[in-house]
Symmetry: C2
Subunit: 277 residues, 2 copies
């Protein structure tokens, strides 16, 4: 008999056990570690996975908001996932992620809300066409910067707006475009799509060409793709585009779009990010 | 002795009583009634008002996500507002809005999360300048359409992308720009700003020139203005701009920006909206 296949690192990071409906336990993953806690995208993905695994879940993810209240520390965590209201075509979720503090008391590290929905065929229209960019196969994979583990979990191919080489304060735009996919390649699902909405390095680094501490406070993802569009995307590259609209008094926003290689808009996303002056 | 001044309709609609910290009761307002429930903006504003009135609140609103789980019915409601985590410069909130169903059992109508934050002077940069548009004084106030009460609570002056006059399926853009302020005029606060992020009629009506049932599922507001910028805005007009990025399978998204007349970006906002084909 052959051994069971080793799970993809993404699935290993999202391994959850559910003791009662909606109560999950998991463990932080060194493979997706950021600087002072897990990569925010893997936390968002964990929440999506938990909702997908809830026995009462109806429909597919439509919107997700994740609020990063405090960095998770290395170790176990628990998730409380509650369907607070189920309608005919939408279902509303609240999620709390908790860890025990050194005294053994539970502390909220993350809150989230989500909506799952039954999608149906309607008039549809894409008003933000995929930008004209070179194909991923013509570009080189680059690691944004060294010493941050989760960056090695993605094949990222910057087109414009890479991490500055010179931190000379000379930035003039916050626009980044890049091709990305899991490394190794993995068929796209809602959890992976949520995670890939958060791969962009802090816009303030690009706009100012200055590296300052920064961290996402809240991210929202709107899923435009249903499972059929995800299946059609498979393990192909996604084009991610991110840009800030306003930097003000210690926080900036970011708007992002994610398309597949066929030019289908899979998700739009927004976040507000803390930065240190 | 003179009578106490009659409150502005907006403040009357937001009247809340707080029996224990974080537990509020209020009542829906006929003045802000939409078609099948309250105007979504007034619900968002009510949540902001409750957070502002919480005795443990620190800092000013930074982000707000409101999920419209079900239409409120005419009558009283209760709000549970909880500061789930307080950090050095940010505080995270969860909010649940409930009404009793005909059997007297509480039902969740709305969920929300919010972050309040201590803002501080930092390097700042506006990357989305206010569009060049005619001044509000040169434009006429128009009521978008008749028979919807809350529309009379705003002075709205469309610049581009008004409600179509001909429902002929001939739409070609989803962009609306308009000047707006409370009617009668009222000094801007965070609650009013949240509400004005939701004044835009459904983008699908404009893009298709077809009037179909539509309703916001989830809205997120990022506040870029602090109280000083709000005070500087006073009761002046705000420029609102809204546009969809993607219409797909019964839902579309909307991105929006709100500036004051001096061109200061006050808020950016996003929502996902249900529509019937």
């Amino acid at each position: 008999m052959s051994k069971p296949p080793t799970p993809h690192p993404f699935d290993a990071a999202l391994a959850l056990s559910q003791d009662t409906p909606g109560h999950f336990t998991g463990h932080t993953s060194p493979a997706y570690w950021n600087m002072v806690g897990p990569f925010g995208g893997i936390t968002a993905a964990t929440i999506v996975r938990a909702i997908m695994d809830h026995p009462q879940r109806l429909g597919e993810p439509l919107s997700l908001t994740v609020n990063y209240a405090g960095a998770l520390t290395e170790g176990p965590f628990e998730l409380q996932v509650t369907p607070v209201r189920t309608n005919r075509s939408t279902q509303h979720w609240t999620v709390t992620l908790l860890q025990n503090d050194p005294a053994g008391l539970p502390v909220v590290t993350t809150t989230a809300t989500a909506v799952t929905a039954a999608r149906r065929e309607t008039w549809s229209q894409s008003d933000t066409p995929i930008p004209a960019v070179p194909a991923p196969e013509t570009l080189e994979r680059r690691v944004m910067f060294k010493g941050v583990e989760w960056l090695s979990r993605y094949d990222m191919r910057p087109i414009t707006g890479p991490v500055p080489r010179l931190w000379d304060g000379g930035g003039h735009t916050s626009l980044t475009q890049l091709w990305m996919r899991d490394e190794p390649a993995r068929p796209l699902d809602f959890a992976a799509l949520a995670s890939m909405c958060d791969v962009f390095f802090p816009r303030v680094w690009l706009r100012r060409a200055t590296q300052v501490p920064a961290g996402t406070v809240s991210i929202t993802v709107y899923f435009h793709a249903g499972s059929a569009a995800l299946a059609a995307t498979g393990s192909g590259y996604l084009l991610g585009q991110a840009q800030a609209q306003e930097f003000r008094n210690g926080f900036f926003d970011q708007t992002a779009q994610v398309w597949n290689q066929a030019g289908v808009m899979l998700a739009t996303s927004h976040q507000v990010v803390y930065f240190k002056a």
